[in-house]
């Protein structure tokens, strides 16, 4: 048990430290993806993706954060996706 906690803490240090030092390396193919593409790919994996126009802008921000936690998405992905989803409301 104690060993396990030690492992977990070390892994956590590795993760937080690693990302702090280098930032995560993302291939340019992934970095250049549009919000629409990220939406089609990520929001369809577990359920049918809700489309633009389904919710208002404030609600998309709330949903984005909820799904960031539920689905382990990165903030960059969520920001691009919500921006795309909001575009239908403007």
């Amino acid at each position: 048990m104690k060993k396990l906690i030690t492992y977990i803490v070390i892994i956590a240090i590795f993760i937080t430290g690693g990302t702090a030092l280098t930032g995560c390396y993302v291939s340019s193919k992934v970095a250049n993806k549009s919000g629409a593409q990220l939406w089609g790919e990520n929001c369809n994996r577990c359920h049918n993706a809700p489309g633009p126009g389904e919710f208002n802008n404030d609600n998309w921000d709330i949903i984005g954060t909820h799904m960031q936690i539920r689905a382990n998405l990165t903030k960059t992905e969520v920001d691009k996706i919500t921006e795309f989803l909001k575009s239908a409301n403007n």
Partner: protein, 371 residues
């Protein structure tokens, strides 16, 4: 524990340096609405040679607050009628602090990422079936709802992503009553002894188009029995492997989904239970496992709206129970066939037929509205 302290301090320092960096946060605009209620409502019908009628009616509101770009609260209440009376449960109430791009810290009562079924693919409008796979529902095995704290996030590596969750929680309680000896309460609200469980999940999203997720989960607790009882030091270790895949197949104008999960748990062999006479002691080898594999096809790319909203699904499941447990016996397998009709992205009608060992074949129907 003392050796751990410097490591934990180091971890917190690192997190603090992150917290200083607010550059990634998008501001909430003044006057924006921070609170919303979502959730789902469900009602079901079942018919077999033993019984027939409308069954469970469930109402599960989800309350979400985005207090600021970094602070987020999620809570879900469960109002269920499946057991013949109104049952009110707190499914989760979880406070989240978004430290940065890749890291969120959270505390409260939450759905641990143990496998992908419970808490995610089992939810009303994600599950294509009105029921659960053998070994995954009531009387099944594996972590369910936990109270404690954890960290989660995603790390991109090239075109791949690694998703992670780690947590420290109260963990499951060993049950010792005659009918359930060797089973667990996986949703306890309070601790029953001084030990805590540690768990986590690492998942890979290997393809750039993010259509496949494969996860490995682990949870361990060194003592699960009630404080001061002979079973206080009975350990529980659990593992799960999960898979979730989808693909739009253009030539047949359809979306294919495949999900599956294997879970296993091992209970320490120092557990001792009492027979119904209240005197005779006994114990048994207790390492059950369960798995399911499910596939569904929806012609989501055809022109006809009616056909576009249809989905057919099949699920096979297998539950290997401990032979000598009062709730154990032979392997249980279940075959389920479903026909779904989508009314909205998160609302559907499910019609299913289930052939399961030791139960009469059952026709199920249910309606789920996500809101």
């Amino acid at each position: 524990m003392r050796k751990l302290l410097p490591l934990i301090i180091l971890l917190f320092l690192q997190i603090l340096t992150y917290a200083q960096d607010a550059s990634t946060a998008t501001k909430t605009s003044p006057g924006s609405n921070k609170f919303v209620v979502y959730g789902n409502a469900e009602m079901s019908f079942m018919s077999n040679s033993d019984s027939k009628g409308f069954g469970e009616v469930n109402f599960k509101p989800i309350f979400l607050w985005r207090i600021s770009p970094k602070l987020f609260v999620e809570a879900e209440a469960e109002i269920e009628t499946g057991e013949g009376s109104v049952n009110l449960g707190l499914e989760y109430a979880n406070m989240n602090y978004m430290v940065n791009q890749y890291l969120t810290l959270h505390a409260g009562r939450f759905l641990p990422k143990f496998g992908a079924y419970r808490g995610r693919l089992a939810e009303g409008f994600l599950n294509r079936f009105p029921s659960n796979p053998a070994g995954f529902g009531d009387g099944g095995i594996g972590a369910s709802v936990e109270t404690g704290f954890g960290a989660l996030g995603a790390l991109p590596f090239g075109s791949m992503k690694v998703l992670y969750d780690v947590y420290v929680v109260n963990g499951s309680h060993l049950l010792t009553d005659t009918a359930n000896a060797g089973q667990f309460d996986y949703e306890a609200y309070i601790p029953n002894n001084k030990t805590m469980a540690v768990g986590g999940r690492i998942a890979l999203v290997p393809f750039a188009k993010s259509n496949l997720e494969v996860g490995f989960s682990y949870q361990n607790k060194s003592g699960t029995g009630d404080l001061g009882t002979v079973n206080e030091k009975v350990s529980l270790s659990m593992q799960a492997v999960d898979l979730n895949y989808f693909e739009n197949i253009k030539p047949i104008k359809s979306t294919l989904r495949i999900t599956g999960e294997y879970r296993h748990q091992k209970v320490g062999d120092n557990a001792v239970y009492l027979k119904a006479d209240g005197e005779t002691q006994y114990s048994f080898a207790n390492s059950p496992s369960a798995w399911y594999l499910s596939g569904s096809i929806r012609p989501s790319l055809v022109d006809s709206k009616f056909f576009r909203n249809l989905e057919i699904a099949y699920r096979y499941s297998n539950y290997q129970r401990p032979k000598d447990a009062p709730w154990g016996g032979s392997n249980l397998t279940s075959n389920e066939y479903a026909l779904d009709y989508w009314l909205h992205w998160n609302s559907l009608l499910k019609i299913a037929y289930q052939v399961k060992d030791q139960e009469p074949s059952t026709f199920y129907a249910s309606v789920v509205f996500g809101f």
